[in-house]
């Protein structure tokens, strides 16, 4: 097989890179072992939520305070801005408008009633939680507890009260998932039957928080429609995976990639590369019965860190980058992987590939290793996307940089 650019990975960085490179006229093949972080995240864009455990209010300003070697320093503030601007335009055009800006973080309400710091939130999650807030679940949906959510919101000074709205008769007689409920809500007739009960449950409130299940196949239209039927602002709370806002985002990427003629292949991981000197000439990926080579001019690795399967943690404490065998700083032994607090800093989560300003991997001495390989997103060293809340910001900023670097090269 043959491609101009091969992008490996279908998380936030891989999807944005593939889309932007195709928009820049490159012919792209997207290879992925499976779906990525879109399906687990909150559908929002985290740029920088915390530094040293302290919440960040102004993400763009705070970037300066990040340690040297952080991906934001490598690509610069202009790329961060470009990444988010592009994302805002792309999602708006796809019917998935996001609200927010790089100057301020905002709180996105979650099923636990916490307000997670993030930068851009999908429009259905963007409403103000002012005045009286009804936290409403749909009866029978087991992945959302309005009592828990409301209790935490009250602790944050929000006047929240739990409630439950009945579901109209529908054709599931067993336990159902958020995706099944969201598919039902895609139907306009179902929404008309759902709205009166929701309005009664939230009566007297100024705004209603509901689980993020308001449609999955039609962008934000079901949310907007239900909101007007109920006659009050509805705010979607992020729930457990699979993330329905993330599924909407993935569907938008997929439609755009298809429109741009991008090929993709899911389920068969890239397992190696073929090299000629300092250039990669082909990517090797698993097939049903044999490993096959796809020749390419450029390779973009968006495979993620250890959690994303871009890096393998070995029993002796060393770390291995899985596709090109790039060097990753490991640890003396496995104990080095771990921090002392489960949800605190975890050295393993910050492990990654060191790159130069053009996102090319470096060898142990700091010299560029491969001229036509770029690393983006969670694979990069120098940041912990989860603890600092920077996953989508780093993904979009590095995708912006890659699009900028590779757009200039004409397709051969």
């Amino acid at each position: 097989m043959r491609a101009d650019v091969v992008v490996v990975g279908a998380g936030p960085a891989g999807l944005a890179s593939a889309t932007r490179l195709a928009e820049a006229g490159r012919q792209v093949l997207l290879l992925a072992r499976g779906n990525g972080f879109t399906h687990w995240g909150a559908g929002s864009v985290d740029v920088l939520g915390r530094i040293g455990g302290e919440p960040v209010e102004r993400p763009l300003e705070a970037v300066d305070r990040l340690p040297e070697g952080h991906p934001y320093h490598l690509v610069g503030q202009a790329a961060v801005r470009d990444g988010l601007d592009w994302f805002s335009r792309f999602t708006a055009a796809a019917g998935l408008a996001h609200h927010g800006d790089l100057e301020h973080n905002r709180g996105q309400v979650t099923a636990f009633g916490t307000l997670r710091p993030t930068c851009l939130v999908p429009e259905p999650a963007a409403g103000e939680l002012g005045g009286r807030v009804a936290v409403v679940n749909f009866a029978g949906f087991r992945d959302f507890s309005p009592a828990l959510c409301a209790q935490r919101l009250r602790q944050a000074g929000i006047d929240a009260t739990p409630a439950s709205a009945p579901l109209p008769a529908w054709d599931h007689d067993r336990y159902f998932t958020g995706v099944e409920l969201a598919r039902a809500i895609d139907d306009a007739g179902f929404r008309r039957r759902l709205a009166p009960g929701l309005a009664r449950a939230a009566a007297g409130a100024d705004v209603a928080v509901v689980p993020a299940v308001l449609g999955v196949g039609r962008g934000h239209e079901p949310w907007a429609d239900l909101q007007s039927l109920v006659g009050m602002p509805l705010v979607e709370a992020a729930t457990t995976p699979p993330s329905i806002p993330g599924l909407r985002l993935f569907a938008a990427y997929r439609a755009r990639l298809e429109q741009l003629g991008v090929r993709w292949q899911f389920g068969f991981p890239a397992v190696g590369v073929e090299r000629d000197g300092d250039r990669v000439t082909a990517v090797r990926s698993e097939g049903a019965s044999r490993v096959q080579a796809t020749r390419c001019q450029e390779l973009v690795l968006a495979t993620g860190g250890v959690a994303g399967n871009g890096i393998e943690a070995n029993r002796d404490g060393t770390l291995t980058e899985r596709v090109a065998g790039l060097p990753v700083d490991g640890f003396g032994d496995r104990l080095g992987f771990l921090g002392t607090r489960f949800l605190g800093d975890q050295p393993l989560a910050a492990a990654g590939v060191r790159v130069d300003g053009e996102l090319r991997p470096l060898d142990a001495s700091g010299a560029p290793l491969l001229a036509n390989v770029r690393c983006v997103g969670g694979l990069l060293a120098g940041h912990d996307p989860t603890v600092e809340g920077s996953r989508e910001g780093v993904a979009l900023a590095t995708a912006a940089r890659v699009a900028d670097l590779l757009a200039a090269t004409p397709a051969r």
């Binding site: 043959r2 499976g34 598919r183 699979p242």
Partner: protein, 405 residues
């Protein structure tokens, strides 16, 4: 390599597989691949009785989309298929209907001498009602027509062209042999246009319908026989092309993954198998594909079968069709057409197959192409019956473009 069932240990319970399952999206009879697969697997470990916790896994169509979506390498669909085979064993084997529809080569052998009569009988509505009642084959399901002439009898009178530069063995499978010799003939002509001499090694059914219906023992005996038959071709000429997407996938991977056949002979055969479009794209990569195609001025919709995605070779047909001047190709947005081999012909599953296929049928109704292109035969029959449009194998389109060039 991990055994299929051991991959359940990699499940992180993220539910991504459930979001892509086309069956659970349209029926409550199947709760979704995660619940049946990695989650159910814990109860099937043989610690207690090894019984399946939930017999609804019989409603899995084995389309495999869940396995491809899994970020952790869990072989979700395959776990379900192995579990289903245990259910079938526990029930004392396949029901009569499933035994019959799982043996296309046997059906062909019986029907061929009376093909026109058999086809006329099977086209009669009252007969289909009877067959539905007696056998459980839905009256509305697409049925292939038996061909009076088999592909191999066509091949006997076919003369190799002069000046060939390469040789490939052809695994035509049952469909081209019994029902669609015209597809097989197109495969041969297209290969010959590319300088290939085509050999026809002796061959039988690959056993896929038996495997997907859950009779692994019977499937294994078909598999070992076919491996024996194709073993020589795996060395010489070293390339075995297949135009049946699902049979090719079975030879490539399912003998190993599902039937546990991992001997040197099976490996040699599976590594020599190429999907016909995969093989032709390989020629193009080396600059040796004959690109003299005449224009076909038409609009077509291409539907990649779910089983093609399981080859892990991308969408080679799309690359080839793009080389035909004048041909406008729209890509299907559906992950599965619904029929998944013999699944959609069963009376209890026919409506599910139609509902799963609705995404595709709606797209066809909206874009009104001149014809549809699809690699897999059971998909072609199902889509043709459901849309009323002609559905061709990609190689038939190439054959036509070569013929008029």
């Amino acid at each position: 390599m991990l055994h299929v069932e051991q991959t359940a240990d990699h499940c992180i319970k993220c539910n991504v597989c459930n979001t892509v399952c086309p069956v659970s999206a349209v029926t409550d009879l199947f709760p979704g691949p995660k619940y049946e697969g990695p989650q159910g697997q814990r109860f099937r470990a043989g610690i207690d009785t090894g019984d399946s916790p939930d017999k609804s896994l019989d409603y899995c169509s084995a389309c495999g989309l869940c396995t491809q979506a899994c970020p952790e390498g869990v072989m979700v669909a395959e776990i379900n298929q192995v579990a289903r085979s245990r259910l079938v064993t526990d029930r004392g084997g396949l029901k009569l209907r499933d035994q019959i529809i799982s043996r296309p080569s046997l059906m062909g052998l019986m029907a061929r001498p009376v093909a026109p009569v058999a086809n006329a009988v099977m086209a009669a509505k009252p007969v289909r009602v009877l067959v539905e009642k007696a056998m459980g084959v839905h009256r509305g399901a697409a049925m292939p027509k038996f061909s009076a002439m088999t592909l191999r009898s066509w091949a006997r009178s076919h003369r190799d062209p002069a000046g060939t530069t390469r040789t490939v063995a052809y695994f035509h499978g049952c469909a081209a042999q019994e029902f669609e010799p015209e597809v097989g003939a197109a495969v041969v002509r297209v290969l010959e246009r590319n300088g290939a001499r085509v050999t026809f090694p002796k061959q039988g059914c690959c056993g896929l319908p038996l495997v997907s219906n859950g009779d692994f023992d019977a499937g294994r005996s078909y598999a070992t026989r076919l491996v024996r038959q194709l073993r020589g071709s795996a060395d010489d000429p070293g390339v075995i092309v297949a135009n049946s997407t699902s049979c090719g996938m079975t030879l490539k991977a399912k003998y190993r993954e599902l039937l546990g056949l991992d001997d040197a002979d099976t490996r040699a055969v599976s590594q020599a198998v190429y999907d016909i479009c995969e093989y032709l794209v390989g020629l193009d990569d080396d600059g040796s594909l004959n690109r003299s195609f005449a224009p076909i001025r038409a609009r077509a919709l291409y539907h990649p079968p779910c089983q093609l995605m399981a080859h892990g070779v991308g969408l080679p047909a799309l690359d080839l069709l793009a080389l035909v001047p004048g041909l406008e190709i729209e890509r299907s947005r559906a992950g599965c057409c619904g029929t998944a081999g013999t699944y959609g012909v069963k009376v209890e599953k026919y409506q599910i197959a139609m509902d799963v296929g609705q995404t595709l049928f709606d797209q066809v109704a909206a874009s009104r192409p001149d014809f549809i292109v699809c690699d897999s035969e059971t998909c072609r029959w199902h889509i043709a019956k459901s849309t009323g449009l002609p559905v061709y194998h990609p190689v038939q389109v190439l054959d036509r473009a070569y013929a008029t060039a």
